[in-house]
Amino acid sequence: MGTGLILIGVILVVGFFLVLFVIGIYNALVTLRNRYKNAYAQIDVQLKRRYDLIPNLVETAKGYLSHERGTLEAVIAARNAAASANTRAAQNPGDASAMKELSGAENALTGTLGRLFAVAEAYPDLKANTTMMTLMEELTSTENKVSFARQAYNDSVMAYNTRREVFPSNIFAGMFNFAPAELFVIEAAEQREAPKVKF
């Protein structure tokens, strides 16, 4: 009689702990996933702001850079590509292919923008234009905000991925379909700097 009761007690307690343990792991994974998705929302807002600014910038520059049609069109094309990549990434933040596409599109956009700024160097009138100055100022500030938000996003993706991979969470991560999340990487500023145009 005594052993029977003890056996039941042990089964009870072990089973109970196991259930709570799994619930705890599941909930922790959900929390971390929500956190990085929320963090992406911050990037999204700033990227959209950036995509809204660029057409204005191009519109302002157009009057001065009539001979640089190609550069301007490249900027607009890159901006459109990045905007659509962002729409896709925003639907499913952390999705590997969407994030890679966004990184690529963002790098391309930064590259073309860099070229535009380099070209603009040669046009003192354009550089002195107040609209242009405020737009560029705004763009820099937005880029700072993007990189700050990106840092927060990457931090939370790292926390999520780590939790996903360590034992014993990894057993349940697979079971409950917690896919790994992708970082949002943009190449270092030195590399993406457009080559200075020499005349």
Binding site: V45, N144, F148, Q151
Partner: protein, 650 residues
């Protein structure tokens, strides 16, 4: 009944609640024993004389059952409570809420955020996180969290889209009353306890799966499931009884805030007229049903099990002319007409807010500046109960804040920069040193951003600073843990590099860090430790001395100001409140004192705040800047004072 009495009452109610639960758990243990006995027990006992007798009492069996039941319920409750200790956001995420970005631009989301922001400024608490329950088409809302720092408000998609601004304001006012009355903590504790009882059924389910010949375990499992559900039934009964009462209270409070019964009544009528009403889809709805604005459960249970009073009754309390006929509300109003960018206001457009006088900084306080004044005793009764005047004032204040600062406060980088800028010194040399320290603690873009924001913060008046900080908090909660640690280090560097920091700026950074830390650092919940003023006499001495030095220049006046506050407290504490020399009122001591005072019961806090008010207003009048200092101190004691309204004349 003032704020402190309501806090006291909430505390007493929690104790009563715990008592009910203990009774329920005792009954559950008895029931479990009966089940275990029926399955395993020997009814025949052979006593020492070799005679067998019939018994229902087996001490060892009872001991094991009691132990088992207590372990299950105890650990279950502890588990859930630990999960909920992450604050309101944990509850919101459990219910599939999506955090609304503080810089959202979508018209409906913006409207909701604006309403919440105004209400927060009006009651003097940080703006809570706002979650949207996207999958819920009904009209409902909830508030959850432990303190004002980790509070979250959730609104269903239906609620956000279908309610007008006034109605939304009524609903949000109702939720704020839950936040201010200490209902949230009570609610979370309830959820934890009920989950513990529910765990009995979880164990039952585990047992029912076991196999084997002559295995009695499935039978025990079945019994446990039944017992668990009966237990949960009684748990819900308690839950419902507590909840119903609180809902009426919150309705009344909401009307008191907004002074517009039509808004709240309109929202309730819309719920009645809508087919999906206030029903919730989430699987966790039942667990959290008592958090919600209106009954969220599918079946419309009434009577003892209902967590909410009937709609009709609630409407009648607000609108006696209600005839019981709900207006027809079409559910597909889902896409309301676009809201004009300028929000419609309830009353005629207010005259531009009176230009807020710029007050000199604290070191110049008490130099006989003519400002708006109010008697100290007029300020304190408002604690925790903003009125319609405060709401109007908050709306105007929010409008008059510079647009650039408002938009900075809404995203993480800008919000950090804003806080740094508010902490920068006015003196060139000190500021340069601070900026150098900031640059070492953070990175260049942040310093740049701070310098962009700084000129604008120079025009910010004293009265705007606390609201600005409150507005910036939702964005700051979005920092990643690494960014938060950097932020905290930078804030401390700014405070320490400026040896001349004034008390108000010090309190400002304390507000920021105090409300942010629960989101990033896991600290044990503070437990009330002081029920008597006597052991806190030294701490009161530090606080009152510091306030006296902040307000007065002349040593004699300092002492006189201190004495005014001290005599009030020494009478209650029945001991001397020590006056400290200026050198002893340093920040670590003050910090320590405030920390200890925050752990006292509400009535002590009330007396301490009264004494503080007496001290800063030693000249009989409370100036704007002094009132703000008092608000900051009160905030660190968890007593939100609504903004001081400069209406009284000199």
């Amino acid at each position: 009944m003032d704020f402190f009495e309501r806090q006291d009452k909430a505390r007493r109610k929690t104790k009563l609640l715990v008592f009910y639960f203990i009774v329920a758990i005792c009954l559950l243990i008895l029931a479990s024993y009966a089940a275990v006995f029926a399955i395993f027990g020997r009814r025949e006992v052979i006593d020492s004389f070799g005679e067998s007798s019939f018994t229902l009492w087996q001490p060892d069996l009872f001991l094991w059952t009691t132990l088992g039941t207590l372990i299950v319920i105890g650990i279950g409750s502890a588990f859930k409570t630990a999960e909920l200790s992450k604050g309101g956001s944990a509850v919101a995420q459990m219910l599939d809420g999506r955090l609304i970005n503080s810089n959202a631009t979508e018209a409906n989301e913006r409207k909701l955020l604006n309403v919440v922001e105004e209400m927060a400024i009006a009651s003097g608490i940080p703006v809570p996180q706002v979650y949207l329950l996207e999958n819920e088409a009904g009209i409902n809302a909830f508030a959850a969290g432990h303190s004002t720092g980790d509070a979250a408000i959730g609104v269903t998609r239906g609620g956000m889209q279908m309610l007008s601004r006034d109605q939304l304001q009524g609903v949000i006012g109702h939720e704020f009353s839950h936040i201010l009355n200490g209902d949230m903590r009570l609610n979370l504790r309830l959820m934890g306890l009920i989950f513990g009882i529910l765990c009995l059924t979880v164990v039952g389910r585990v047992l029912i799966r076991t196999r084997g010949k002559k295995n009695p375990l499935p039978l025990l499992g079945l019994a446990l499931i039944v017992i668990g559900f009966v237990g949960v039934f009684f748990g819900r009964l308690i839950q419902a009884a507590v909840s119903r009462q609180r809902e009426f209270l919150a309705d009344a409070a909401s009307v008191q805030f907004t002074r517009n019964p039509d808004g709240l009544a309109g929202a309730l009528k819309k719920i009645g007229g809508l087919e999906s009403g206030s029903k919730l889809e989430s699987a966790h709805a039942q667990e959290a049903s008592h958090l919600f604005f209106a009954n969220g459960l599918r079946s419309s249970i009434s009577g003892a099990m209902a967590t909410h009073p009937p709609l009709e009754e609630r409407i009648l309390a607000l609108d006696p002319s209600f005839d019981g006929e709900f207006p027809e509300v079409a559910p597909h109003v889902a896409q309301p007409p676009p809201i004009p960018p300028v929000e419609p206001r309830r009353t005629q457009p207010p005259p531009l807010p009176p230009p807020l006088p710029i007050f000199p900084r604290a070191e110049a306080m008490g130099a006989g500046i003519i400002g708006t004044v109010v008697s100290a005793q007029a300020l304190l009764p408002d604690i925790g109960q903003p009125t319609t005047r405060h709401l109007q004032y908050a709306a105007d204040l929010r409008k008059s804040l510079p647009e650039s600062l408002k938009s900075a406060a809404r995203e993480p980088l800008g919000a950090s920069a804003l806080i740094y800028a508010l902490l920068l010194s006015n003196e060139q040399s000190a500021r340069e040193k601070q900026l150098a320290d900031l640059a070492t603690a953070t990175s260049d873009p942040i310093v740049d951003e701070t310098l962009t924001v700084w000129p604008e913060t120079q025009n910010v008046t004293m009265q705007m600073k606390i609201p600005l900080v409150d507005l910036a908090l939702p964005a700051l909660r979005q920092l990643s843990p690494a960014q938060f640690h950097e932020f905290r280090a930078a804030v401390r560097a700014l405070v320490e590099s400026d040896r001349q920091i004034d008390l108000f700026e010090y309190m400002l950074q304390k507000i920021v860090l105090r409300h942010l830390e629960p989101n990033f650092v896991h600290a044990p919940k503070p437990v009330t430790q002081y029920y008597d003023l006597k052991p806190l006499a030294a701490d009161c001495g530090v606080l009152l001395s510091a306030m006296a030095y902040a307000g007065q220049e002349d040593p004699a006046q300092v002492e006189a100001a201190f004495a005014r506050g001290a005599q009030l407290l020494s009478r209650i504490a029945k001991t001397e409140i020590p006056f400290l020399p200026k050198a002893d009122c340093d920040l670590p001591r003050l910090d320590n004192a405030l920390g200890r005072l925050a752990l006292s019961v509400p009535q002590i806090k009330k007396n301490v705040l009264n004494a503080c008010a007496e001290t800063v207003a030693a000249d009989g009048l409370l100036q704007g800047s002094e009132a703000e200092l008092l608000r900051a101190i009160a905030d660190s004691l968890d007593c939100p004072i609504p903004p001081f309204i400069p209406s009284a004349s000199v």
